[in-house]
Amino acid sequence: MGAEEGDDMTKPGGTPLLAVRRLTKRYGPEQSGTLVLDGLDIDVGRGVFLSVVGPSGAGKTTLLRCIAGLLTATSGSVEMNGVPVVKPPPSLALVFQDYSRSLMPWMSVRKNVELPLLSAKITRQERRDRAQEALAAVGLAGSANHYPWQLSGGMQQRAAIARALAYRPEALLMDEPFASVDAQTRADLEDLTRGVRDRFGMTVILVTHDIDEAVYLGDEVVVLSGSPARVRERITVDLGPDRDQLATKSSPRFTELRGRVLELIRGERQTLQGTA
């Protein structure tokens, strides 16, 4: 486990890697446009696995795109390593929900994984090695020469995760990454994600609408309220570093935590319906 052998920097509670401050995003005209994010404050410590859960259309993707520097906030700020994020920061990688659209169909899996390494001054050999290591970490070493469209959905998402790993980011942002795969593949990919987080010592922010997934994967869960999104509550998930699909999910503590998250989200929905 990375948290055990790593230094203080990889443990939760150090200087925050990412700091989201009063983040507000409004689409359209400055005053009359749709308010999507309403003054969000979120700190993400180094090495933390943070789940962000909220009702559909709560602006989760918008939040992620702001953190990734792909979208400019209307007001407020995002800082990574103390540096304001105004464009995509150097040590941050994204995994998208729609794996079939985020991989290049005209490149082999290996070339796809090597793609982000074409930018830095990396030798051909090192590029190969890093891609191979990343592919091995997600169990795709044998499919390196296939094209993405020759793989199943779950394998394509693994390839997308490998591409992010090869980039060796400090922060990995995942936008509903397992929403379009079947249940068994989803469970496999969830465990794979926690596994590579430990092995590569990254900070992960995973956005999902699935409460079980948020609690099962996260060291902490941020619950967003619906449109416009505000931080409803932040919950520490004290389920220990090792998670197991069967044991963890059937433990009383898990049930308690997911119940609390569900309550927060359900309460939110009732408030919304009441005001609608």
Partner: protein, 267 residues
């Protein structure tokens, strides 16, 4: 029986069937023409046998080097300029919406001008010679390549754009590995249209101002009432056009291999 055959066998049969059809129908038409025209004494409709022997003697031996080759060379140069300029300008305009907006009226005007209409003006400026041919071919063929490339580049999936930005891909890598491959189906479609335009324009230009070339010889033959030569020239052009299309289909097959694979698995 067919339903029980393995997929491969069925595919082979289907391919053989297609190939046979592709040969049988033209062969039948040629045979029909041959039989119907064999005893023709009309000046304007000479027997096919005469036309084909003219094709062989006049075009394939006596005039291939002096006339067919120049036509093909001009065609190739003009076409390649059209493809190069079309892809470069189309990419630039596809990447810059502002630039595209500024030049849109000019583009719309230029592409609306029939090539035939600019021939006399260009001939006046450049005079008879290869420069004239190459210029008008390039002018005629550039538009489909340019406009299709622009559309393809502009239609880049926003997710791929996000991938490029978040992974800090250098502009060159983004252009060559992401944007242009993504636009390839559009570019190929534009180039295919450009080929047929280029063939028409090269002949057209040779009818107007040339001292050699297939079009020039057809015109000469017409002036001297060498009717079999006229028809033989037309057949030669048909064959050349057909061969060029077949060759391009091969290029297309290779260029769009992955796109095809993706589409087929998506079904």
């Amino acid at each position: 029986m067919v339903a029980k055959s393995p997929v491969v066998v069925r595919r082979v049969l289907a391919f053989a069937g297609d190939a046979a059809l592709e040969i049988v129908v033209p062969a039948g038409l040629v045979a029909l023409w041959w039989a119907a025209s064999e005893h023709s004494t009309s000046l304007y409709y000479p027997p096919l046998s005469t036309i084909l022997s003219t094709l062989r003697h006049f075009w394939l031996f006596a005039h291939f080097g002096s006339d067919a080759v120049p036509t093909l060379v001009h065609l190739a140069i003009g076409f390649l300029i059209a493809v190069g300029v079309g892809i470069a300008a189309g990419t630039l305009l596809g990447l810059s919406p502002l630039l595209a907006e500024v030049v849109a009226p000019v583009l719309e005007f230029m592409r609306a001008v029939p090539v035939a209409a600019v021939l006399p003006a260009v001939l006046l400026v450049l005079g008879v010679g290869p420069a004239f041919q190459v210029t008008v071919i390039a002018f005629g063929a550039v538009w489909p390549v340019l406009l299709n490339t622009m559309d393809g580049v502009r239609a880049l999936d926003p997710i791929l754009d996000d991938v490029g930005r978040s992974f800090h891909l250098p502009a060159r890598v983004r252009l060559l590995r992401v944007t242009l491959p993504a636009a390839m189906p559009n570019i190929v479609a534009g180039v295919r249209t450009a080929i047929s335009i280029a063939i028409s324009v090269v002949i057209f230009s040779e009818l107007m101002g040339a001292t050699s070339g297939i079009g020039y010889q057809i015109l000469q033959a017409q002036d001297t009432f060498a009717i079999p030569q006229v028809w033989a020239g037309v057949i030669l052009l048909g064959i050349l056009g057909y061969l060029l299309n077949v060759a391009f289909r091969g290029v297309e097959h290779v260029l769009l291999r992955q796109h095809r694979g993706m589409r087929e698995t998506a079904r």
